[in-house]
């Protein structure tokens, strides 16, 4: 995609502003580092962002750390603990994390003007800061760390404080840090396969493929199979609703390369859904964007019953499509949904079921919520706004004042 392709969606002036900012950063080498090239929100955003940064005149690069399954089991534990789950890291796990990180520190080329490190997996790369003079280092945290387990945060914090700046997705994730903390919510790409407009035959074809009937309302939750997304709780919600409204449930998601736990969760979900033909548990490959798009567009209600969240891009996607959404008031979800205005927020299984029933029984209200939700996403959570914030962040690294004339 090129910047001009976004003009019909966001308007000409937005694109002009991006070009003006790009001119002021022309030639800067921005090196993005994360842990996986496919699966998960970070890889998705980088895939879109890198070509646009290059088109704007920056020299954006994207590298992935090299690590094995054991390393990712440890970083999955980091992830869970940062989300607040009570677990303990053993010394062996810490050693494994550090030794793999050291190998990456030695092998990776991190030369550039700005080194942009995403999430905890590559965090130790900051050790290379002294070797790359004048480079600015940013740590971008995509995770809800509002209530981290002290063991993991105490371990990571000294690394974070070596960076020049940090970035969080929600104000509630802010920590006491010696470095600047910027607030940049993530975004979705309105032109990607996952979010673009789809013709009705494509939606129908996807429903046929997954054997989903158009005759009954469809409740959909899209998310990878992860305890923190509470897919088992979603089945409980469906069963409470099903007592009153004959509906179907679709639980669809992929498994990510850096999440070894997802197969276990998928098995438990399949076990719980067994025997109910109206529950569709779909483990789809990472490259199923059109199908995911079609499922969201076919949904009567979209659910995101997460226990913990980063920003919850699946909520952004659903709102952008004008779907009525019921989601837990966790992580970045309240930034996207104002209760009863752009969607509905819930805190319990019973509450979630209550709101789903309301929406299924009041389609006009559901439509109004969906339309307001789409407008809110258009104003605040599309890729162009995200790109603009990153450009401003890069500029902020070179200025200390609150009003910057550029």
């Amino acid at each position: 995609m090129r910047l001009a392709d976004y003009e019909p969606v966001v308007g000409r002036s937005v694109i002009e502003e991006l070009r003006a900012l790009g001119q002021r950063l022309k030639g800067k080498v921005v090196r993005n580092i994360n842990s996986t090239a496919v699966g998960g929100g970070v890889a998705e955003i980088l895939n879109r962002m890198i070509p646009l940064l290059n088109e704007l005149g920056l020299r954006a690069r994207w590298d992935v750390i090299k690590a094995g399954e054991k390393f990712f089991s440890v970083t999955k534990k980091f992830h869970n603990m940062l989300h607040g789950k009570k677990e303990r890291l053993s010394q062996e796990e810490i050693d494994l994390f550090l030794s793999t990180s050291e190998e990456n520190v030695k092998k990776m080329n991190l030369r550039g003007d700005i080194v942009f490190v995403h999430d905890p997996q590559p965090i130790v790369l900051i050790k290379k800061k002294k070797l790359i003079k004048k480079a600015k280092w940013i740590w971008r945290c995509h995770i809800d760390i509002s209530r981290p387990q002290p063991q993991v945060w105490d371990f990571l914090k000294p690394y974070v404080e070596e960076y020049d700046a940090s970035v969080f997705s929600s104000p509630s994730f802010a920590q006491e840090l010696k470095i600047g903390q910027f607030l940049i919510p993530p975004s979705i790409d309105p032109l990607s396969d996952k979010n673009k407009e789809l013709p009705q035959p494509t939606i129908d074809e996807a429903l046929r493929k997954f054997n989903i009937s158009r005759k009954k309302p469809v409740i959909v939750q899209i998310s990878r199979f992860d305890y923190l997304k509470d897919p088992l709780g979603v089945i409980d919600v469906y069963r409470l609703v099903k007592k009153y409204v004959d509906c179907q449930l679709v639980l669809a998601g992929s498994t990510a390369a850096d999440d070894p736990e997802s197969n276990e969760v998928l098995a438990k979900v399949q076990e719980k859904a067994k025997g109910d033909k109206d529950i569709h548990v779909l483990s789809v490959p990472a490259a199923s964007d059109i199908e995911i798009n079609a499922l969201q567009r076919a949904a009567s209600v979209v659910l995101q019953k997460s226990i913990r969240e980063g920003f919850a891009l699946t909520v952004t996607e659903a709102l952008w499509k004008g779907c009525p959404v019921v989601a837990s008031a966790v992580g970045g979800i309240p930034l996207q949904i104002r209760h009863k205005f752009s969607g509905l927020l819930s805190r319990t299984t019973e509450g979630t079921a209550f709101w789903v029933k309301q929406l299924l029984n009041s389609p006009e209200y559901a439509r109004e919520l969906g339309a307001a939700g789409r407008e809110h996403i258009k104003q605040n959570f599309l890729l162009t706004r995200h790109l603009r914030d990153y450009l401003l962040l890069f500029l902020a690294l070179y200025h200390g004042e609150d009003i910057v004339n550029i």
Partner: protein, 229 residues
Amino acid sequence: MPKFSKAQQPFVFYTRLHLQQLTGLKARDLKTLLKGINKVSGSVIYHHTHRFLQQHQFLSPEPPNDFAYWVTEVLGEHKLGEELASIDTIQFPTIRALREKLSQTIQGHIRYMEESGLGQFRVSSEEEQFHFVKTISFVFPTPYVARNLLEFAKILKKITINSIYFHVFEAKLRLEKGVNDFSYWIDTSCARPDLAQELARLDPYTHTLEGLRKKIIELIEQRIKEIKG
């Protein structure tokens, strides 16, 4: 004098973009909110009194400041919420003066509650506490320059909404110019003091940004029509 003579000085349209910086400061009740308001930089006060305008451009009416919204929705202090919401931001020439008013209003309510024994101060849950955030503004010129009132109106129709925001809100309050840039230019460079005053009298806080653009264009075009006779 020709009807649309060249302005003494051309009007260069600037724009501004915002980046949000977290301060790490939080509040869970009225007293910690007050403490925060008295302590934070002007850029934080500016953020919380102007964020709604930008993030909910399509909405009207909306709670005009974050303090009013939080006090009402989270602490359930509806009377104080209304007092904070009705603070007439346009009347304040500086952020300092606006901060003072916010602070006095909350202080007054705390005193009232303490003296009348109206009960306990409510405390928010951890999830719903107030986070103080700062706005960093990046200001830069656009390619658009108006040399007379006609050109000015034409550009207003297509310029980014951020430019209108900058010249109306940011220039007056944050840059402490005392009046919005449009009124100043129309008065001093176009010699149209009546129109300048009309624009200065607008309360921009009661419009959506697009609504404001429309209103400004309407006033200018009306005047252009009158001049043309």
